[in-house]
């Protein structure tokens, strides 16, 4: 690998940086190669490691030292923030005023919908729990009946024991279903909040 190939690799992997930081870094390493001289090219490349490794080191260290510039440079912000801030405030106020007749009911609707969904899920869980309890109760009784019946009628006893095992199976099945459902709901809620948080940024 020669210097040009190396720098091409570095460019590729540093693309994720903001433009200013990217150009800065590329210039630094270009200069470094220049100052090291052609005769030291191989040595420098060996020292730096693969372009991928070097780039990820640079990215990590820049992040650690917190020296990556934000996309809007501070100078720009300073010059425009006053005008823009005021304009934005008026603009947003107008939008809010005009959108209120439609926006407010939609917002309320959304809250109600979420509330109903949560209640539905809770009710469903409750019902499933009750069903599970009933099955457990029936299963237990059947088992006792079956065992006590074995002495008088073997076939009848076995049928009853079978029924009790069947209901036990269903309870286990419901248990698994509930665990799965809980996970799904939990996952859904975290994803939803993540999305909302992201959008607010």
């Amino acid at each position: 690998m020669n210097r040009e190939e190396y720098m091409a690799g570095l460019r590729k992997y540093l693309k994720r940086l903001p433009k200013k930081d990217y150009e800065n870094a590329i210039q630094y390493f270009n200069e470094y190669f220049e100052d090291a001289g052609r005769e030291n090219e191989e040595k420098v490349i060996k020292e730096l490691g693969t372009p991928k490794q070097a780039a990820s080191d640079i990215l990590n260290n820049l992040l650690e030292e917190q020296v990556i510039t934000k996309e809007n440079s501070q100078i720009n912000e300073k010059n425009t923030i006053h005008n823009k801030g005021l304009f934005n405030a008026i603009w947003i106020t107008c939008l809010v005023l005009f959108a209120a007749p439609i926006g407010l009911p939609i917002l309320i609707c959304l809250f109600v919908l979420i509330f109903v969904a949560v209640v539905l899920i809770l009710v469903f869980a409750f019902v499933v729990c009750i069903i599970g309890l009933v099955f457990a109760n029936v299963g237990g009784r059947l088992l006792i009946c079956g065992i006590s019946m074995l002495s008088s009628s073997v076939a009848g006893g076995i049928v009853l024991i079978g029924c009790s095992l069947f209901s036990t199976g269903i309870i286990i099945l419901i248990g698994f279903l509930m665990v799965y459902l809980c996970r799904l709901v939990g996952f859904g809620i975290t994803r939803l909040t993540q999305r909302i948080v992201k959008r607010q940024r």
């Binding site: 210039q27 630094y28 470094y32 020292e47 730096l48 490691g49 070097a54 030292e65």
Partner: protein
């Protein structure tokens, strides 16, 4: 060098290098490499940090038909260097004294 070197100490070295005369990346790096087994991918972010904190300023100058970035120390940088130097002296003397054997923590008096 056998002992690892901390990023703060490297900051101290960099500031010392440019304290009397402005310098450029490669030169600074060669001096730092006299004491630290450090890669350019670590050194460059430290230089950027010093620049961001206002300890160094950067300007471009023509050199043999190409531009070269020079680093120059600011008054804030000089203050920071004084602080880092003081801390280093304390650190060095303490270790020296422990190694020589003239210093022990009060609680650990030997009989």
């Amino acid at each position: 060098m056998y002992y690892p070197i901390s990023a703060l100490l490297i900051e101290c070295i960099i500031l010392s290098v440019v304290k009397d005369k402005d310098s450029y990346g490669y030169e600074i790096s060669q001096t730092v490499k006299l004491v630290a087994d450090i890669r350019e991918s670590t050194l460059y972010p430290i230089l950027r940090k010093l620049e961001n904190n206002g300890f160094l300023t950067v300007y471009s100058k023509e050199y043999q038909g190409r531009t070269r970035k020079y680093y120059s120390i600011t008054s804030l940088g000089r203050e920071q260097l004084e602080f880092l130097k003081k801390e280093w002296t304390i650190y060095r003397d303490t270790i020296d004294n422990i190694i020589i054997g003239v210093m022990r923590a009060d609680g650990g008096k030997s009989e």
